[in-house]
């Protein structure tokens, strides 16, 4: 389960890791019941909508102002999102 935790960008403390691993293992085991259903020749259902592709005109619209979006950033500088130093 550690590898899936890493994929989900999580580093769980021991107690949480134990609970999540146990639950996820149980779920994965229960999912094996799906094998009993014959799906020979059945296409996967990606969307319940009876549509394929919808085209629209390419129209320019006013978007949300830069300041309004940056207002939600945990840290910002000079009109950009700021993150910790990534290159030495």
């Amino acid at each position: 389960m550690k590898k899936y935790e890493a994929m989900a960008k999580l580093d769980l403390p021991e107690k949480e890791h134990q609970w999540v691993s146990e639950q996820a293992e149980m779920l994965l085991t229960s999912f094996s019941a799906l094998e009993s259903i014959d799906t020979e020749g059945v296409e996967p259902l990606v969307s319940v909508l009876g549509i394929q592709n919808v085209f629209r005109e390419d129209v320019a619209v006013k978007s949300i102002a830069r300041e309004d979006l940056l207002a939600n950033a945990p840290e910002q500088a000079d009109g950009y999102f700021q993150v910790p130093r990534t290159l030495e």
């Binding site: 389960m1 899936y4 935790e5 994929m7 989900a8 960008k9 999580l10 580093d11 769980l12 403390p13 949480e16 609970w19 999540v20 639950q23 996820a24 779920l27 994965l28 229960s30 999912f31 019941a33 799906l34 094998e35 259903i37 799906t39 059945v42 296409e43 996967p44 259902l45 990606v46 969307s47 319940v48 909508l49 009876g50 549509i51 919808v54 629209r56 949300i64 309004d68 979006l69 207002a71 939600n72 950033a73 945990p74 840290e75 999102f81 993150v83 910790p84 130093r85 990534t86």
Partner: protein, 290 residues
């Protein structure tokens, strides 16, 4: 009237019940909020709808209900939950849970009022790609096989967790919401923020979602579940009143994008399901049962 915390209202916090969205202030109104004007209050439910909320509001609530917590609680508390046909109410401004199943529904005390409200908010919106047209099946489906409710539950869990895992990957502490303190680099920023910001149920969904989408399980679990979802959709058989009756917790309507009405009848919880866009059959059947 209330809207759940996952529905954005400009200038107000929208957390979807998660610490990940701590401090996030909605930069615009959700389409349903625009349609209703300033008449709404806000109500916090479980994180991303994954867990059961502590209580329901004392009034009408607009909320998404993928896992059936709200439907079950509605039936237990003498209330009604209307889940419209997938693609009926715009999800623009709704913080996503499981995109192929997300649909804003109505918790209410009086179904007549609930359906009247639905008419008010069921307005076409180009900002929600799922509103482009939900169509009735043109011909009789080729296969009709009963799929047990247990299997339906498993299919819902596989697909919803996969989609949630994807949808919550955005809570990485960069652009909005919670950011953990003391991060040393980008990788540490993502991991520390998500480990501290997501609740236990969301962590389980993220890990399980990554597992079913991984190379190891993709075909045998994820794609298999999508194939069975088609069989489930094709297995739906309506009675003379154009209705299927199931339990409040049944995932059938959610998986098939069908409208449903959940309530308590003679002390027992019931969920009525109708065909695509046939919401009026739900109200007629409820009336007939009185």
């Amino acid at each position: 009237m209330y809207v759940e915390e996952s529905i954005m209202q400009k200038g107000l916090p929208a957390t979807a019940g998660s610490k990940s969205l701590e401090g996030f202030i909605a930069p615009f109104d959700a389409t349903v909020v625009t349609l209703l004007g300033d008449k709404t209050g806000r109500f916090k439910l479980g994180e991303f709808g994954l867990s059961k909320p502590k209580q329901l509001p004392d009034g009408t609530l607009l909320c998404n209900d993928v896992f059936g917590h709200i439907r079950r609680m509605a039936a237990e508390n003498g209330m009604f939950y209307i889940r419209p046909t997938y693609g009926t109410v715009s999800r623009y401004g709704l913080i996503p849970t499981a995109s192929s199943m997300d649909q804003i529904g109505i918790l209410c005390k009086d179904p007549n009022e609930g359906f009247a409200l639905l008419e008010q908010i069921a307005v076409a919106d180009a900002k929600d790609g799922a509103m482009a047209g939900n169509t009735l099946p043109k011909e009789e489906p080729p296969r009709k096989r009963d799929i047990s409710e247990e299997i339906q539950e498993l299919v819902l869990t596989v697909l919803a967790y996969a989609e949630i895992s994807n949808n919550i990957s955005r809570y990485d502490g960069v652009k909005f919401g919670f950011r953990a303190a003391g991060c040393t680099g980008l990788e540490s920023l993502y991991t520390k923020t998500r480990t501290e910001g997501l609740g236990l149920e969301a962590k389980l969904a993220a890990v399980t979602g990554c597992a079913v989408l991984s190379q190891e399980h993709y075909e045998t679990i994820y794609v298999k579940a999508m194939k069975i979802r088609r069989l489930i959709k094709e297995s739906v058989r309506f009675d003379k009143a154009e209705i299927v009756k199931v339990t409040p917790g049944s995932p059938l309507a959610v998986l098939c994008g069908l409208p449903s009405l959940t309530f308590s009848h003679k002390g027992e919880g019931i969920q009525l399901i109708a065909n695509v866009s046939n919401e009026k059959a739900l109200l007629s059947e409820w009336e007939a049962m009185q």
